[in-house]
Amino acid sequence: MMENKINKLDFKPDFIQACEIFDLEPHDVLQKFIDSVSIPYFIANPMNPDRWANTFMVECILTRLESEELLERYSVFFDRITEAVLNDMENKDQVAREIMDEWHRAVLEDRIEDVMKKQ
C-alpha cells in the first residue's frame, strides 16, 4: 500500500459542502473512488455500468498520452494489451493485469535508471 497523503489534500468548498449536506465523510468518498479504479478490469469490461471511476481515471491518463516520448517508450505494452483485447482472449482482465504489472516494473526501472544517470 502506498503512503496515505490524504491529509495533504486541498478540499474545495463545493466538495466539502456536498459532503456536509449529505453527511458523507470525504475520506469515504475518496476511498470509494480509489477502490473502484482498476484499469485492467476496465480494459476488459469497458461497458460495465460501474465504470465511472475508471473513465475519470482514463481522462487523466489521456493528458499524459500527448507525450510522444511516453508512447514510443512503452508502445510494446499498448500493442500487447491491444492484441489481448482484439483477439478476445479468455481472462482478458487477467492478461491485461499481467501486462500492466510488467509495464509498471518497466516504468520504475526506467525511473531508477534516469535518477542514476543524473548523479
Binding site: 480494459i43 473513465t55 508512447l71
Partner: protein
C-alpha cells in the same frame, strides 16, 4: 482499399451511419454536395461549401486510383483544346483577379462554366441524372458533369468514391490519435452535420436513440485509449458504431 463499384451507386455502411445517425437522408446529402460542385473552384480556393464540395470529389481521385488504377476513362479532350482552352484561361484569369469578392468570382465563374459546358456537352456521354434506387433520382449539374469529364471518371465512380471518404470511424480514430488529415468530403459533411443545408431531421435529434448513440460515441476515446494503431482503432470504432447504430438508430427508422 475498398473496391469502387462502377455500375451502380453503392452506399457504404460507414457513410450510411454518418448520415442516418445524425438524421440526414443519404439522397439529400448526395444531392446537396452535387449541387455545390463549382467547376470554377477547381481554379480558386476559398472556405465556402462550394469549394469543399468541389475539392471533395477531386480529392477522391486518390481513393479511386489506389483501389483501381485502371478506372480512369480513355476519353481525352486534347483534340478539342482550341475551343476549350480559352474558357479555361478565362477561369484562371478570374481566379487571380483580386478586385472581385469570392461570391462574385463564383458567379462569374459559373457563366464561364456555362460557355465551357456548351462546348463540352457533345463529348459528355453521361445522362444528367442517376438513380440511387428505383425511386430516388439524383440530378447531376453541369458543373459536376464537367468535373467528371475533365477528371475522366464516370459520375457513378466519382460519387461512390466520395461516399467512401466519409466515415465517422475514421474521423474519430484520427481525431483521438491526433492524426487528422485534410479531407474536403468530411469537411462538407461536418458543415451539414452542424446545420448547413437544413438536412437534419430535428425530430430524430430529440429521440432517445440518438442521445444514447451520442453518449456512446463520447466514450470511445476513453474506452479504447490503449489502441494506438490508427487502422486497429478505426476497425474497433467501426464495429462499435455499427452495433450501436443497429441497436439505437435503426429502430427509429424501422418504426417510421
Amino acid at each position: 482499399m475498398n473496391k469502387i463499384e462502377t455500375e451502380f451507386l453503392d452506399v457504404p455502411m460507414d457513410f450510411r451511419i454518418a448520415c442516418e445517425a445524425f438524421g440526414i437522408m443519404v439522397p439529400d446529402f448526395l444531392q446537396l454536395i452535387i449541387r455545390h460542385v463549382s467547376f470554377a473552384n477547381l481554379f480558386m480556393h476559398d472556405d465556402s461549401e462550394y469549394d469543399l464540395a468541389t475539392k471533395a470529389f477531386v480529392q477522391s481521385d486518390d481513393k479511386i486510383t489506389k483501389a483501381q488504377p485502371d478506372l480512369k476513362g480513355k476519353q481525352t479532350l486534347g483534340e478539342h483544346g482550341k475551343t476549350i482552352l480559352p474558357h479555361i484561361r478565362s477561369l484562371v484569369k478570374l481566379s487571380m483577379n483580386r478586385s472581385y469578392s469570392k461570391t462574385m468570382k463564383r458567379e462569374k465563374g459559373r457563366k464561364i462554366t456555362d460557355k465551357l459546358y456548351r462546348v463540352c456537352s457533345p463529348h459528355i456521354k453521361h445522362k444528367p441524372y442517376l438513380y440511387l434506387n428505383e425511386e430516388t433520382k439524383l440530378t447531376l449539374t453541369k458543373d459536376f458533369l464537367l468535373v467528371c469529364l475533365i477528371h475522366q471518371f464516370s459520375p457513378t465512380v466519382y460519387i461512390n468514391a466520395l461516399m467512401q471518404c466519409i466515415s465517422l470511424a475514421d474521423l474519430y480514430a484520427r481525431q483521438h490519435l491526433d492524426k487528422l488529415v485534410y479531407n474536403a468530403a468530411l469537411g462538407f459533411y461536418i458543415r451539414v452535420q452542424h446545420g448547413y443545408g437544413h438536412l437534419m431531421d430535428t425530430n430524430h435529434i430529440n429521440t432517445l436513440g440518438f442521445k444514447d448513440f451520442i453518449l456512446d460515441l463520447q466514450e470511445f476515446d476513453v474506452r479504447y485509449f490503449f489502441i494506438r494503431d490508427l487502422e486497429k482503432r478505426t476497425a474497433v470504432y467501426r464495429a462499435r458504431l455499427e452495433e450501436v447504430f443497429e441497436e439505437k438508430i435503426n429502430q427509429y427508422y424501422d418504426g417510421e
